[in-house]
């Protein structure tokens, strides 16, 4: 199996808080990789470092064989990493369709001149953007909400829309930060089908999730963070049985 992402010795501190300490992990092409850990373990911070939102203090990240640039989220996106946010970040006053169309920005290129003169290239590109956005809305199952404002969608649909927008950037790696948070059982079940489908379509997925059942059922491999450190990285069955994991989740004495 080829390695898609290699993070080595990542460190990140916020003042006195060491949010990440010497975290190394390897994500292989085509797998669903789970990142779990108790609240405040540093999972979201790892996402933010990975996607260039925060500069990292230490460590190297190699993605698809290339070192990943520091501190420029849009370049990371162009390199092929797309993400969703734990606290949904949609463009609230744009329609669902427009949200996904914005996601096409990285892969399209008509500039001001093209827009002002409505060149043939611009019209072709614009039509392609719209068509792709519609396809993606359909793919995540919210095609009927295309013309609704993002802020008017239900919670579950907003999460799906965020995934569609991320997919619009044509990622090689899709990083999802707690996509099932706040979803009911039915919504979670269909989200699970969606994520499994992404892998079947050849995408690599990095998944942060608190829903242990979802993670264990879906992921090919799982890493556990605790107090900013990786305590284990293995297949779900092994991770679940590991005493350090049980201790991290339930506290000393429970193991």
């Amino acid at each position: 199996m080829t390695v898609l992402l290699e993070a080595h010795g990542i460190g990140k501190r916020f003042g006195g808080v060491q949010a990440l300490k010497d975290v190394s992990l390897t994500i292989r092409e085509g797998e669903i990789y789970g990142l779990i850990g108790p609240n405040g373990a540093g999972k979201t911070t790892f996402f933010n470092v990975l996607t260039g939102l925060y500069p990292r203090d230490e460590g190297e990240i190699t993605f698809a064989g290339q070192p990943l640039a520091l501190g420029s989220p849009h370049r990371v996106t162009r390199a092929g990493i797309a993400r969703t946010f734990q606290n949904i970040r949609l463009f609230a006053n744009m329609t669902a369709l427009e949200n996904v169309m914005v996601g096409r920005h990285a892969r399209t290129k008509v500039d001001v001149g093209g827009a002002v003169f409505r060149t043939r290239a611009q019209r072709t590109e614009e039509a392609a953007i719209k068509r792709r956005a519609e396809e993606l809305l359909h793919y995540v199952g919210i095609a009927d909400r295309a013309n609704d404002m993002a802020k008017n969608l239900s919670y579950g649909d907003q999460r799906r829309l965020e995934i569609a927008r991320a997919l619009a950037t044509e990622p090689k790696l899709l990083a999802l930060d707690e996509p099932a948070a706040g979803m009911n059982a039915t919504e979670t079940a269909s989200l699970r089908t969606l994520i499994a489908g992404l892998r079947d379509d050849g995408l690599t997925v990095l998944l942060i999730e608190h829903d242990v059942k979802l993670v264990m059922g879906l992921c090919d491999r799982v890493a556990v963070l605790d107090y900013g450190q990786k305590i284990i990285e293995d297949i779900p069955a092994t991770v679940r049985a590991d005493p350090r994991v049980i201790e991290a989740y339930l506290g000393t004495g429970a193991a």
């Binding site: 939102l53 849009h74 946010f85 463009f91 996601g103 990285a106 399209t108 827009a115 614009e126 991320a166």
Partner: protein, 351 residues
């Protein structure tokens, strides 16, 4: 089916006819002073449309926007007046004005890229004042701007050898200069509207709105927010530069006092009052705020005379008073502006 296709054209033709006849109707009924106000309204509309790109689309609160208007106006004044003895043609000055103002836009934008909201407002406010103070003081040691006295005897805008300040005979029919200016401004305003609409419906326009809505998510979508913001500043500023050039040629006089903070606030009010980010709303806002205060200026004193026999409140004060009241009322009852974007337009199309 043909009727469906011809109807919108018919509507457009009627609007065009109305717009073409408007100056004659206005000067015949209200007088030339009002035709002049109408010309100014068109300039203000262009300004408001430019600021709308920065504030309305990209969500960057800019309180120094009038500086770009000043740059365009002074550029025209310096290149077409006896001050330096230069008399460049308008078709050379206006594009240059757009370009230079655009560069100034980038100069303002670059150091403020990390700022938002109140902080950005304060910095841009300072920038506007700096430009005005420069205009005021660049008369020594070398006299560039002629200081507070301003630059006078600016060349009127001349097209095909005819200065628009003079009336023109068309088939024995006299078109006054103010109407000629009206037509020029109308054409340019329509041009700016078309550019604005096309930008809005493009990936650039969507990127602007995305930044307004959520800058971090915009970055995560692969938008280079630095460049896209600078582009908003530059585009908005260049519209302002064109409007400034027109102002200088129309007025034939510029001085720093035309470019104070109040003017920036006025243009911002046009955008906010009309409907931020919604082009028809912004046009309405520009028109209203250009015309209504003048109506007060002209109407308040005679009205008070008729009612009370004397002028109780100075019309200028009354104008500001009512203006402030109107703003408060609109913000209370129509916070999204008088003509905000119809949010559900798209939903109707669906079925």
């Amino acid at each position: 089916m043909t009727s469906l296709r011809t109807k919108p054209h018919l509507g457009l033709a009627l609007i065009a006819l109305a717009l073409a006849l408007l100056p004659f109707v206005v000067s015949a009924t209200l007088g030339n002073a009002w035709l002049r106000i109408l010309d100014f309204a068109l300039i203000y509309i262009m300004l408001a449309l430019g600021l709308n790109i920065v504030v309305g689309f990209a969500g960057l609160l800019d309180l120094g926007y009038i500086a770009f208007y000043a740059v365009g106006a002074y550029l025209y004044a310096l290149l077409a007046s006896p001050h330096f003895g230069l008399h460049w043609p308008v078709w050379a000055i206006l594009p240059l004005g757009a370009l230079v103002a655009g560069v100034f836009g980038v100069l303002l934008g670059a150091p403020t890229l990390r700022l938002r909201g109140d902080y950005l407002a304060i910095v841009t406010l300072g920038f506007g004042e700096i430009v005005r103070i420069f205009m005021n003081n660049l008369n020594a040691p070398i006299n560039i701007t002629n200081g507070p006295k301003g630059i006078a005897r600016i060349d009127p805008i001349t097209i095909a050898g005819h200065p628009l300040s003079k009336s023109l005979d068309v088939f024995g029919f006299t078109v006054p200069g103010l109407a000629l200016y009206y037509y020029l401004f109308l054409v340019l305003a329509i041009l700016i509207i078309v550019v604005g609409i096309r930008l809005q419906d493009s990936r650039i326009g969507r990127a602007w709105v995305a930044i307004r809505e959520d800058e971090i998510a915009a970055k995560a979508c692969g938008i280079d927010t630095r460049n896209v913001k600078l582009l908003a500043f530059a585009m908005g500023a260049s519209f302002g530069g064109v409007a400034g050039g027109l102002f200088a040629g129309f007025q034939e006089f510029v001085s720093p006092e035309s470019f104070g903070l109040m003017e920036s606030v006025m243009v911002l009010c046009m955008v906010v009052l009309g409907g931020m980010g919604h082009i028809p709303g912004v046009i309405l806002g520009g028109l209203l705020l250009a015309v209504l205060p003048e109506a007060f200026r002209h109407g308040a004193a005679p009205l008070q005379q008729a009612l009370f026999g004397k002028t109780l409140i100075d019309p200028e004060n009354l104008r500001m008073l009512l203006f402030g009241l109107a703003l408060i009322l609109v913000m209370l009852y129509k916070p999204a502006g008088l003509w905000p974007e119809p949010r559900h337009r798209a939903e109707l199309k669906k079925s």
